[in-house]
Amino acid sequence: MISHLRSLWLVFKHMFHKRETVQYPEEKPYLPPRWRGRIVLTRDPDGMERCVACYLCAAACPVDCISLQATEDENGRRYPEFFRINFSRCIFCGYCEDACPTYAIQLIPDFEMAEYDRQNLVYEKEHLLISGQGKYHGYNFYRVAGVDAGVKAKGAGEKEREPVDVRKLLP
């Protein structure tokens, strides 16, 4: 009984405490850079699409809301022909970002994506692709990969020897 009364008193005293509520949208909350919000596709330092259409994000997605189709340009550089994320299904778990071997897909601190029509939550590549590098700077997959996709010639990569002359038999 006493404890009940004490509780009543303690709760009553909260009348004079500071409010915890953040008055969004007038007051914006602080979101850390690694906040898992809207998904973007970034570009490499040379301004080209980072995505190489490896399908790993799609495979990692627990709600299967990513679909894409790989294609190649005349240099053999692989990129997505289309890249679609159905944000009405996305749960912002960030597995796609974890799976991405090229830092292409990134989750950014933007969550203001409300729509009146669910159809508008289907984002295509032109909606996802940004002009910058996002959170991770300086990485260009095609510089470290073995393939020649018009970025560097065979053997010209960072840790590569000149291509072998197959007609020599020297030890």
């Binding site: 994320i85 159905n86 020897r161 072998v164 002359d165």
Partner: protein
Amino acid sequence: MATIYIDGNPYQVKDGDNLLSACLSLGFNLTYFCWHPALHSVGACRQCAIVRYRDENDTRGRIVMACMEQVADQARISLEAPEAKQFRAQNIESLMINHPHDCPVCDEGGECHLQDMTVMSGHNYRRYRFKKRTHLNQYLGPFLHHEMNRCIQCYRCVRFYNDYAEGKDFGVFAAHDDVYFGRFEPGVLENEFSGNLVEVCPTGVFTDKTLRKHYTRKWDLTNAPSICQQCGLGCNIIASERYGSLRRILSRYNGDVNGYFICDRGRFGYEYVNSERRIPHALKQEPAGNWQGLKKEIAIREIRDRIRAARKVIGIGSPRASLESNFLLRELVGADQFYAGIPEQEAKLIKEVLHILRHSGVRTPSLKETESYDAIFVLGEDVTNTAPMLALSLRQAAKNQPKEKARALKIADWNDAAIREVIQGQKGPLFIAAPSATRLDDAALATLQAHPDEIAKTGFAVAHQLDASAQGAELSASTEDFARRVAEALLAAKKPLVVAGTSLYSQAIIHAAANVAMALKKAGKDVGLFYTVPEVNSMGLMMMTDQYLEQAFHQVSSGEADMAIVVENDLYRRMPAHIVDAFFQKAKTVVVLDAIAHRTGERAHFVLPAGTFAEASGTVVNNEGRAQRFFQVYQPRNDIQSSWKWLQALAADDQLAVANLDEVISRLIACYPELEGIREAAPDARFRVGTQKIPREPHRYSGRTAMLAHIQVSEPKPPEDPDSPLSFTMEGYVGTPPAPLTPFFWSPGWNSVQAINKFQIEVGGPLHGGNPGKRLIEAAQQASMPYFTDVPPAVQQQADSWSIWPAYHIFGSDELSALSAPLQERMPASYLALSPADAKALQLQPGNSVEVNFHGQAIRFPIIIKPDLPGGYALVPKGWEATAGWIFPVQSTLKPVQA
């Protein structure tokens, strides 16, 4: 059987096997690269290291390569010994040193044997910090993409391409860790089985270029067990789809048919399914030239009205349509009005083949079984081009006799390198008689190029030598010698095989081959007789009807019938154009059901969109008489459906309405009791594992909630499949389904095609539950027919009239696969081939043209000169635009055209 102890536990294994194969058969996961179940062991990669102990008291043991150790009773080995595990992990680390950082852009990723083995061996972190070796790639033609950086030097590619398929234009270059696999200069890989490098290569050095154009990972593909439709052998394939288009074909292991491999026509010839020429919905032509699209229901109603109004409706079936489609056409028009859609000549040949298979008393081996014969006589067939996979099998069979030498030295069958060392390129008794040199000649002991009638006579002569009671034939001296050698070799063999076929449209050749086989049987040999047939369901079709195309045309031209329904058939490829034109002029209504727009469709009044093997399910019968089921891969998002689904809807008052494929099959069997076996080709639609269907999609299938979201954000209900126990989704039983229902090979830890090991009872043996397919024809113990006596008369060379015979091409002679862009790159231009002497006599140079008079029509051909032709006849490519509808042999003048 021997007992071996693996990590202390006893297991029963097959005697004479190697330990790697034995461990894999027992279900152990042991890493390997250079070993392949069809290529056997060379011990090159050092990846299958295990510890072998001397006896139960030996605790140290020694590290050995499992693939190079023979199973011995009471052998004690350990896979789990720390030193063996460490050896495997360190070995793969060394193999991976130069492997590039490519997986995200590598087509092999996700189904890569190297990835699997790396994970399995426990190597997960690259310590190597120095520069990697690089290689330049080569252009290898329209089928294969070359990415040499990824190579781990396992030598599987040369062992398949050079040793197994006996290709000549591929090899190993350079030395030590610079070893390079490729051609001596960039260019098209010529071998017809080069596509198998995609599956043989454990990593991404050789990848499928056609898949690359619409690349999809293995886990994202919707797959179905299917049957290759591109020739009469009926190889088993896995057909895969994504986003409504067919993405690739892989071989589907069938220990009785194609084994691990398929030919390039089957693998790369699928693109017609995605062709621009596909018909997406029903069309109506009225008046001529004015096409209008029709809704499915309206098309059905209008055609039903026409059928009701017609005097008599005939049905023209097709050897490339399934049994079910042909049968429902027969039900729709009535048995008397149902005609096989092939000319009399071809129909009678196939009937004859069927008759011989049933009554000659000689067994027809399955395709894979042909590899067990040790002397082969090929009559008139260019098998590489008419039944490609048979060529690969015959190459293996030809090595059987030379291999005896290795057996005598007690070298195990799996010890590939040692066997080859003993054989040293020695050839086995393979004899080929054909109108021109064939791609298989290099494996043959002796060849004969001769006029088809001469070939038939050679066959008769061989039979006569084997058994004097068989009809003989007069031969020239050189041919006589050839015939004698063949007869001797066949008699000396334990298991002789006679191969012939329909490709030269010569009944005499088929009879001659039967005579040889029957004579060998009489001589007490375990003989095999193998006929090739032109198309995927030629056998099935001729098991259903005796009536052929000329009779169908007569029905219309006599005015008895005024409406025709043509199923999956381009009549202009069957008969000369003027005959088909006459048929169209006379017929009041022609309904064509086909997948692809073609000349016949253009002249029809109604065209209905039929499904290809990718959009339809059905049963086909191959040359061996084996009924095999192919299953729909995906549900197209238009009006395309199986021909039999259209046909059942066309009957008045829904008389033919069937619920599913099984109901069609039941009705079919009621009509044709001898086809009873097709029921066993695959489990029926009610089959479940527990309560679960078998999923067409792997459990990692992605993008379900996004792939159609751009059309409608609410996902549609997945399509249902009433015709099979397969589902169109990823939900269902994950495990080993019955062999005919296996949509893809996957097992935990085994993402690559090497997972097949887990689906076989023993490595290289039959699949769990038996290999798919049901043989409908088994030879009787005794022959119930006499020798044939129809020896053709001596060939009369008429001045100014040339007999023109068909030459076949793996890329181009098949109607549908020839529509695929990658194959078209490999098709030669149209030509007319002459011997050098004949060309000289006609004063023709290569590059000149001649005109052939075909039923009053002058058709122009560029000349090529083939030194291997004996002269007296000419060859033109079969199935080309210029030769479509020709009934061979064609007699014509050759009129040189001034340039």
